[in-house]
């Protein structure tokens, strides 16, 4: 008997990422129910997996066939739905990133998880990437000796990968970016969105090596969409570069330089099942390479969720860690936006 999964929200991420990932683990997981506010979407996406469907979160949570809940709804809904999933006594809850939109909401989720004993996993897929985890087992004191960190995310439009990962039920509709880009308030909102929408993918990794942000030095929005952010803390310096272009080439890398170790990971793009990152760890003893492995971080998330649901392994990242990850991202986004509003950024 496999473990039943219920999806709250049946948008492109559910369709293109999670459904194929769960299907790939059919020896232990199956989709039991799909909920979406749009009944047609819920029905169509559920039909792909032979699952039940509906438009009610309560109905999904009351379904005993749903043992793991995946919260893939708009960010503002995460807290309430994750709390409810915990209260329903499910075996595990996956919350897509970001965990919540405010720190208070994140703490509410953590409290619900603590009070109910229901484990929470955030969909920070790179923290479950097999190459990242393998490098982590070997990097020794690199987090303590790290001096420079660089995260670089250069990507084409999501549609390039989504359409190769699944056949979407309907084309996603994105809100048009409004406002005068020369208006500092618009630029500040844009950089907040860029940090919480794109940079956040690597921020849990960055936090491992630069845990406390003391100062943001550079906030530079890029046209048509992107950012350059640099910041410091604890004698360490980090650079975040993100850029979405109209082409096809992707480069998603993460680098760390420490006193006697250097780490570089090259991740595969989101959506497509292209396997894990490749990690290169240089130490005085030589070069160690990890990956690529067949499974990517999304599959890693679901393997962990299945293991949590059966009690086969302990929770990898405590709820307090997840709250701290969000606090880090929110703090960075606010500092970056403040710098723009102060007019001291380029």
């Amino acid at each position: 008997m496999t473990i039943g999964v219920g999806f709250i929200g049946a948008g492109p991420v559910t369709q293109a990422i999670h459904l194929p990932a769960v299907a790939g683990l059919s020896d232990r997981l199956h989709v039991a129910r799909v909920m979406d506010v749009d009944e047609g979407t819920a029905a169509a996406v559920a039909a792909r997996a032979g699952a039940a469907h509906g438009t009610s979160v309560e109905e999904l949570l009351a379904d005993p066939a749903v043992e793991i809940v995946a919260v893939c709804s708009p960010h503002a809904c995460h807290a309430e739905q994750a709390e409810a999933a915990c209260a329903a006594g499910k075996k595990a809850v996956l919350v897509e990133k970001p965990l919540a939109t405010t720190l208070d909401d994140a703490r509410r989720i953590a409290k619900a998880a603590h009070d109910t004993g229901v484990p929470i996993v955030v969909g920070a897929m790179h923290t479950y990437d097999p190459a990242w985890l393998a490098a982590e087992r070997h990097w020794g004191d690199l987090p303590a000796t790290a001096r420079r960190i660089r995260s670089r995310i250069v990507l084409p439009p999501n549609a390039r990968f989504e359409t190769l990962a699944t056949q979407l039920h309907a084309e996603p509709v994105f809100p048009v970016r409004a406002g005068d880009p020369s208006d500092p308030a618009v630029r500040a909102a844009s950089i907040r969105g860029a940090v919480l929408g794109l940079a956040i993918h690597n921020l849990p990794l960055v936090r491992r090596f630069l845990p406390h942000v003391e100062r943001v030095d550079v906030t530079r929005p890029l046209s048509p969409f992107g950012y350059v952010l640099t910041f410091q803390g604890g004698g360490r310096t980090a650079e975040l570069i993100g850029y979405l272009h109209r082409g096809w080439r992707e480069e998603w890398s993460f680098e760390v330089w420490g006193d006697d170790g250097e780490l570089r990971l090259d991740f595969t793009p989101s959506y497509v099942r292209a396997g894990s990152a490749t990690a290169e760890l240089r130490t005085p003893a030589g070069l160690h390479t990890f990956g690529p492995h067949p499974d990517n971080g999304y599959t890693g998330e679901w393997q962990h969720l299945a293991a949590l649901a059966t009690g086969a392994e302990p929770l990898r990242y405590a709820a307090s860690d997840l709250v701290d990850d969000l606090a880090y991202a929110l703090d960075l986004a606010e500092r970056a936006a403040d710098l723009l509003l102060q007019g001291t950024a380029a």
């Binding site: 001096r147 420079r148 660089r150 250069v154 030095d217 550079v218 530079r220 890029l222 046209s223 048509p224 992107g226 350059v228 640099t230 410091q232 310096t237 650079e239 570069i241 850029y243 272009h245 109209r246 082409g247 096809w248 080439r249 680098e255 330089w257 420490g258 006193d259 006697d260 170790g261 250097e262 240089r282 130490t283 005085p284 380029a346």
Partner: protein, 264 residues
């Protein structure tokens, strides 16, 4: 008479260290250069860590040309650049990346006008001076795309540096990380909405080629690779400047301009 039929130019080396591989580099250009005999005409060169005094001394010897083998610890060369120009002495400034033949092969093809960001990043061995590395990065920027303006150093310490600038209206991100393991490499990326360029430079102490890749809607094109270090190319530029009067891609005046960018 063309330069290839001229007798090898006699070279006098100033300085005692063989860095960056001056002797081996000269030995790979036997038709262009030979060690000078006492009393004969010379091309003065400055090796290792030059001081203004050694550079001034090299120019005072009235060579037919000079190669500044490595930019390290130089503060101001404007007056010397003017003096060399007045005396008609071409001065080629070598470096790890700017004169790499892969950059010369671009021949102005790298158009960054529509770019959203230019990145110049490097990993350098421990002990590297942030100012020297920044100068090398600005030199690369100048020969590959064009001169920077508005250089602002954001952060610099023993572990690396961060700076920003512009080329035209395009923002430039300059960064370097110091490697405790001696890693030395660099990249220049031009990110545009439709076209991206990626120039990757391996350890400049070797002739392992830099790669230049242009990415656009039609795919990706790797330009032909050339197994020649930037240092050897610098000597070729010196020979051409002396024998044919060509203007070096990176001269003492360019170095003076980049020093001004850092200090003003």
């Amino acid at each position: 008479m063309t330069s290839t039929t001229l007798a090898p130019l006699p070279v006098t080396l100033t300085g005692s260290t063989d860095h960056p591989a001056v002797h081996a580099t000269l030995a790979s250009l036997p038709k262009y250069f030979r060690p000078a005999t006492p009393g004969g005409p010379i091309i003065g060169t400055v090796t290792a860590v030059p001081t203004l005094a050694t550079l001034r001394g090299a120019l005072d010897a009235r060579p037919t040309g000079t190669l500044l083998a490595e930019v390290a610890g130089v503060a101001d060369v404007r007056e010397l650049a003017e003096r060399a120009a007045a005396a008609g002495i071409p001065v080629v400034v070598a470096g790890p990346w700017a004169l790499d033949p892969a950059v010369a092969a671009l021949a102005g093809a790298l158009d960054a006008e529509d770019a959203s960001l230019i990145e110049v990043t490097a990993t350098v061995p421990a002990g590297s001076s942030p100012t020297d590395v920044l100068l090398d990065q600005l030199a690369l920027l100048r020969t590959a795309i064009g001169p920077a303006r508005g250089v602002e150093v954001i952060q610099a310490d023993a572990h690396g540096h961060l700076a920003r600038a512009h080329v035209g209206d395009v923002p430039v991100h300059l960064a370097a990380a110091v490697s405790g393991l001696g890693t030395r490499r660099a990249r220049l990326d031009v990110l545009g909405p439709a076209v991206q360029w990626r120039l990757s430079f391996p350890d400049p102490a070797t002739a392992r080629p830099a790669t230049v890749v242009r990415t656009d809607a039609d795919g990706e094109r790797l330009l032909p690779t050339l197994y020649e270090s930037a240092y050897r190319a610098a000597w070729r530029h010196l020979h051409a400047a002396v024998t044919d009067g060509t203007v070096p891609p990176y001269s003492l005046h360019d170095l003076a301009d980049d020093l001004d960018l850092l200090h003003n």
